[in-house]
């Protein structure tokens, strides 16, 4: 494995008596596509939320790009270069597609109230750059022609793409996708696979939660399997597929 981008060490999280995550440790290498799979309720999204600062983990620590990640405020995770999408799409519905992506530039730009009021040369230049970059990203994910439509009026697949474009606008080093193929048909899933491969090729590391086994096995360099909040396996897809504990977790009970 190449250089390590993210190292999670002993991350735990419980809600009341339910242990959603127990002592989860994993490392993601720079430039990898890393899959996180497991049955429903295994703690995948909880792990995402801990990583991106929406939850404060009870124990353990994250190291990101060689420095500890102080994951107590979500906007700091984005500043450090971790972007995410949501399992149930969370777009800004009443803003146009291009505006959604423009908001994504927020964390990499700096115009304040006075810039907005006086519209000095720097602010105008920054605003133009934001608009240009947003248009590029819409083109990149393939929905340039829907730029001025309200986000909520886009088709399901386009909304997924828009969410990815918005996440990319924050210039992430690590892009976390939470079930991006959920609810997609075969064609849409295939298009998504091509998009994710393109993003990887352009140098962004990807952490992927997904139920579509074909997609995960086809895309991921390595896969970790969570079950009842514990990591039960981590390896290349071909090995994970044959692991008895994984099969047991998915099918329930032992398989003779």
């Amino acid at each position: 494995m190449a250089e390590v981008l993210l190292r999670a060490a002993g991350v735990g999280k419980h809600f009341g008596g339910v242990k959603a995550l127990r002592d989860v440790s994993l490392t993601i290498g720079l430039g990898e596509v890393y899959g996180l799979i497991g049955p429903n309720g295994a703690g995948k999204t909880t792990f995402f939320n801990c990583l991106t600062g929406l939850y404060v983990p009870d124990g353990g620590a994250f190291d990101f790009a060689g420095r500890p990640l102080k994951a107590d405020a979500p906007h700091q995770a984005a500043e450090r270069g971790i972007a995410r999408t949501f399992q149930n799409i969370r777009l800004f519905g009443n803003m146009s597609a291009v505006e959604n992506v423009m908001v994504g530039r927020h964390v990499r730009t700096g115009a304040g109230v006075f810039g907005a009021m006086f519209r000095d040369a720097r602010t105008r230049a920054e605003e133009a750059a934001i608009r240009r970059r947003a248009a590029e990203l819409l083109h990149y994910v393939g929905i340039a022609d829907r730029a001025d439509d309200l986000a909520k009026n886009l088709s399901y697949g386009d909304q997924r793409r828009l969410e990815i474009a918005r996440a990319l606008a924050t210039e992430p080093q690590l892009l976390c996708l939470d079930e991006p193929a959920a609810g997609m048909n075969a064609t849409e899933t295939e298009e998504l696979r091509l998009l994710i491969e393109g993003i990887r090729r352009d140098g962004t590391t990807i952490l992927l939660i997904e139920h579509d086994v074909k997609l995960v096995m086809g895309l991921c360099d390595r896969v970790a399997v969570l079950d009842y909040g514990e990591k039960i396996c981590e390896d290349v897809p071909a090995v994970v597929q044959k692991d008895s504990r994984v099969i047991e977790a998915y099918l329930g009970g032992s398989v003779a």
Binding site: H75, A83, R90, N94, M95, E99, G112
Partner: protein
């Protein structure tokens, strides 16, 4: 920019300018009282636009907004009246009022921004009342606000020897005090409108809208929601503070009863009735809700006199009745406000269609 220069827009702008210039002289035909009413309408445009930043842009319900108006008004009153013997010029006081109101906005915002919706509304309501009660009682042991009697003999706005309170001859035209304030207010109002429009279409404005749409997603893409919300509070409060200062100067007198809860409710009603988040709508709401009650006040009595030969219903009580009825009707038939932004209208139309 070319859009601005086409003949139709130019004609429209010229018409608006002509109306704005002629208005105080037309209103004066009905007496100077009407010029004052127009002035108040503009002052409420200020307030409504300020509150619109908080409620319309950032989506935070604020029921104590009038407190910032009160802070601005008292800052002006105390720094330009015989009460403390201070007579600072208006261009020094208005910024002080704005900054202080902004400080109060941050003071209110920082502990409460974890709250949402109803809970935030209750806290802001409490804040508004606290400020009013303080103003009412800060006359002992040290007399700061002069209590319920209020502060009198406040200096009018003046530039050198040119006072805004008295009539004077300009180019052979007699311009009354209220008319002078009118032009001062219109100039400021245009500035405020431009600032609001620019804020709305800026990085900060987009962040506000994002927070209103989905706070969690806004956080996840790196918006420091706490600071950006505080900024909305601070900006809204500053506008309220400036409006308050001008109110003080225009009236020459302030007392705590000008800043009761009903005032906060009125300003909020202007924003909601006009069209939340849509600047032209908010302006319309403010003008309507200031001018219509006055029309009623002056119209209802005489009409009853003509029709029935005597005044049957006290105009004052009828005013609130009609006002309430109008609110209900507007909310029933135009739930997005009288002049909503195109997106908001569509949004509500769609929810309605889904229900059917």
């Amino acid at each position: 920019m070319a859009k601005w220069l086409n003949p139709r827009s130019a004609l429209g702008l010229a018409l608006i300018a002509a109306v704005l210039v002629a208005l105080p002289f037309v209103a004066a035909l009905g007496g100077q009282a009407w010029v004052r009413i127009v002035n108040f309408a503009i002052l409420y445009v200020f307030l409504a636009l300020g509150l619109n930043i908080v409620v319309g842009f950032a989506g935070l319900l604020d029921l104590g907004y009038i407190a910032f108006y009160a802070v601005g008004a008292y800052v002006y009153a105390l720094l330009a009246s015989p009460h403390f013997g201070l007579h600072l010029p208006f261009w020094a006081i208005l910024p002080i009022g704005a900054v202080l109101a902004c400080g109060f906005g941050v003071a209110l915002g920082s502990p409460t921004l974890k709250l949402r919706g109803d809970y935030l509304a209750i806290v802001t309501l409490g804040f508004g009342e606290i400020i009013r009660i303080f103003l009412n009682n800060l006359n002992a042991p040290v007399n700061i606000t002069n209590g319920a009697q209020g502060v009198t003999l406040i200096d009018p706005i003046a530039v050198g020897g040119f006072k805004f309170s008295a009539a004077s001859q300009i180019f052979g035209l007699t311009v009354s005090g209220p008319q002078k304030y009118y032009f001062f207010l219109v100039a400021l109002a245009l500035l405020v409108i431009v600032i609001n429009l620019r804020l709305q279409h800026s990085r900060i404005g987009r962040a506000w809208q994002a927070i209103r749409e989905d706070e969690i997603a806004a956080k996840a893409i790196g918006i420091n929601t706490r600071n950006i919300k505080l900024l909305a509070f601070a900006m809204g409060a500053s506008f309220g503070g400036i409006a308050g200062g001008i109110f003080s100067a225009m009236q020459g007198f302030v007392s705590p009863e000008s800043f009761s809860l009903i005032e906060s409710v009125m300003v909020l009603a202007m924003v909601v009735l006009g069209g939340m988040g849509h600047i032209p709508g908010v302006i319309l709401g403010a003008v309507l809700l200031t001018v219509l009650p006055e029309v009623l006040r002056y119209g209802v009595g005489p009409i009853q006199q003509v029709v029935f030969g005597k005044v049957l219903v006290d105009p004052e009580s009828l005013r609130m009745l009609i006002f309430g009825l109008a609110l209900v009707l507007v909310m029933r038939w135009k739930p997005a406000g009288l002049w909503p932004s195109p997106e908001r209208r569509r949004e509500l139309a769609e929810t309605r269609a889904e229900k059917l």
